[in-house]
């Protein structure tokens, strides 16, 4: 059977043999098999291949490659609706499938803003037609992302929103955030927040410090993040609502999250793959593809993020996929848009942390798949029997060099152009159907 017939979906059962099976939901890392039938995992683990497999199954010898849950990316900006020249649900879906991401959570910062049930419904329906991966929208927490009035949180949730966020924006009104957390608590709604005080950010465009001063760029102090996160955690304590910090970037934020967790609050946090991989020095001669929000911080902060991921203080890794085109990036650094694409490079970049010995495969896939699914209340993100068959086959070792032009995203603003990676996705299945298969050039 060739790739072409497998793609575009058959529901034929598949048996993966000689796989290194990773299932963080069971703390499982073992050589074994994974059996997929009827869109679900039948068995996965060292003993899975015992007994007869499903009739008519395709049998794949993985030759030691990893089989792990498909990645669940909690933070992806897609240009649809409103900026389809940068990314559509279809192109994002192709990029995601190639990167081993089987579920993406889209941000509401679109045009129009996703702050109404009809628009949530639009994303859900359109994604169902345009892409084979799973797409779950997050809806705006405030109308028009204006930070003034709560949206219809509960109706939006019933329409399919998996959480509520103002996307790139931070809410300055503490009373509003308090009410939103309190209101959402009644139905278990998740509030995700970008923690950056806009006044402290001010005219800043990169991490404050010596590098910014040398480049003559205005700095963003870490306190822009810390102050908001500290406030939010206090509000989470007051309201007992479910709060998720979208992406933290510095060591002090990690301390705040650890304290909140120790106090038993429903507080979780994410970190972007960029902040695990890069630091402020990568900006070099004003390279705008490294202009991010929050900004890339110091190497000590990057190392703190890696340590926080390894010890579980950081719950999830996100791509923070943010397609920007030449029309927003071909400017002087201070005037260029923030953001980097990341769906296709998140896993290869994250595997660097495995190769360097900073984290094990189970820990990594917990943060890339299992935890985000748990936080979002999705049944994916694991290879437990009965779970949806969203899985990826990963060759962890083969080296390759990232070429922006080959990325499937419509925008090529990757900070990993020319990066040397080791390991890549060989095959991606969503609900038992193969949606991507690596074809060597």
């Amino acid at each position: 059977m060739n790739a072409a017939t497998r793609l575009n979906g058959t529901d034929r059962p598949v048996v993966f043999l000689n796989a290194r099976v990773i299932d963080p939901s069971r703390n499982l890392e073992a050589i074994g098999a994974v059996i997929v039938a009827d869109k679900r995992i039948v068995a996965a683990g060292p003993d899975a291949a015992r007994g007869a497999g499903p009739a008519g199954a395709e049998v794949v010898d993985c030759a030691g490659a990893i089989v792990a849950p498909g990645l669940v990316d909690m933070r992806a900006f897609v240009g649809e609706p409103g900026a389809e020249h940068r990314e559509t649900l279809m192109s994002a879906g192709h990029a995601a499938a190639a990167g081993g991401v089987t579920t993406i959570v889209t941000m509401p910062d679109t045009d129009p803003v996703i702050d109404d049930i009809a628009l949530v419904d639009f994303i859900v329906r359109r994604a169902g037609v345009e892409t084979e991966i799973r797409v779950h929208p997050m809806a705006a927490l405030t109308k028009g992302l204006a930070g003034k009035e709560m949206t219809e949180l509960r109706l939006l949730g019933e329409a399919g929103a998996v959480g509520f966020t103002d996307g790139r924006r931070s809410i300055t009104d503490a009373a509003l955030l308090r009410r939103a957390l309190t209101y959402a608590r009644d139905f278990g709604g998740l509030v995700m927040h970008h923690t950056a005080d806009p006044n402290l950010v001010g005219a800043g465009v990169m991490n404050e410090g010596e590098v910014a001063t040398r480049l003559g760029l205005s700095g963003i102090p870490k306190e822009a993040e810390i102050v908001v996160l500290e406030r939010d955690v206090r509000l989470a304590g007051l309201t007992r609502g479910r709060y998720h910090a979208a992406q933290i970037s510095c060591a002090e934020s990690l301390d705040i999250v650890r304290r909140a967790k120790a106090a038993g609050l429903a507080v979780t946090c994410g970190v972007s793959i960029n902040h695990l991989s890069l630091n402020e020095n990568d900006i070099g001669p004003y390279r705008t593809f490294f202009k991010l929000s929050p900004p890339l911080r110091s190497e000590a902060d990057r190392q703190a993020m890696v340590a926080g991921l390894a010890d579980g203080s950081i719950d999830v890794v996100v791509s923070s996929h943010d397609p920007q085109d030449v029309d927003t990036k071909r400017y002087p650094f201070a005037e260029a848009a923030d953001g980097a694409v990341g769906l296709e490079t998140m896993l290869p970049a994250a595997l660097r942390l495995v190769h360097s010995g900073d984290i094990g495969l189970v820990g990594l896939f917990r943060a890339l798949a299992t935890r985000p699914a748990e936080i979002l209340g999705l049944e994916v993100g694991k290879l437990a029997p009965g779970a949806p068959a969203d899985l990826i086959v990963v060759d962890p070792d083969t080296p390759w060099i990232c070429e922006a032009e080959l990325l499937r995203s419509r925008s090529k603003n990757t900070p990993f152009e020319g990066a040397r990676f080791q390991g890549r996705v060989l095959r991606t299945l969503v609900a038992g159907r193969t949606v991507y298969e690596y074809a060597p050039a």
Binding site: E210, A212, L215, G216, S218, Y286, Y331
Partner: protein, 318 residues
Amino acid sequence: MNAPPPLSAVTFPHRHLLGIEGLSPGEIVALLDLAEDEIAVSRQVEKKKAVLRGRTQINLFFEASTRTQSSFEIAGKRLGADVMNMSIGASSVKKGETLVDTAITLNAMRPDILVVRHHAAGAVELLARKMSCSVINAGDGQHEHPTQALLDALTIRRHKGRIAGLVVAICGDIAHSRVARSNILLLNALGAAVRVIGPSTLLPAGIERLGVEVFTDMRRGLAGADIVMMLRLQRERMDGGYVPSVREYFHFFGLDREKLAWAKTDALVMHPGPMNRGVEIDSAVADGPQSLIREQVEMGVAVRMAVLEALAAHLPND
């Protein structure tokens, strides 16, 4: 003074002048030596050299600056170039065209030298990457203003005979000043002891890592200084944003005779202009015997001629 050694592509191996950063002390001195020669040219009746004859120099200013633009224009014309001034308001750029597209358009007009001032740090470097001609940074945001630092160094050297070992105090809005950054880099490269003086709201994070001594008390910062370099305080920063008022700023950081007396008796006063009299500097000091402010303007033309001539060695000749 002896005739300067001829400046060649070997002694100045750069196609662009984007900043002081990246220049070796030897290259800086070579530019200053050549500038001495240009002073002589500018003081002749026939103020002409032919090193840029037939060349096109475009002065592309995204930020208005009468003095820097005219200084570059005169410098180019004295070297024989055809000089064209283009002033582009920031608003018209915002209307659509990206800076890279502007560069591609200009490049198609085949200029030989592009002199650029832009309100954003790094913008000149971005242009330089897309242009096939030589590019000179005439000020990019809060990053660098290399010809200002060179003209300041030339002015100092002509009066003190040296740079090494001098104590230079740079006072005022260090955070938003490209002049301060370029001067810190250049003066450190040539062995001066550099101090910065200002209220902490106008001192950027990590400034001490650039090899300067930091003072927030002006009198202490001026004690023993050979050179006092004042910076312009932009109007929009005076009204409670960074300092509470003009009155308060002048009281603590304005250079008057009393504060200047803390510096060495033969200390010299400089200002890149345009001055805000009564804000950062008192008229009695600005026009007084220790002031080099007018001479800086003359040195500006000479230094810019030197830079243009040095880069001319790299222009293609076929």
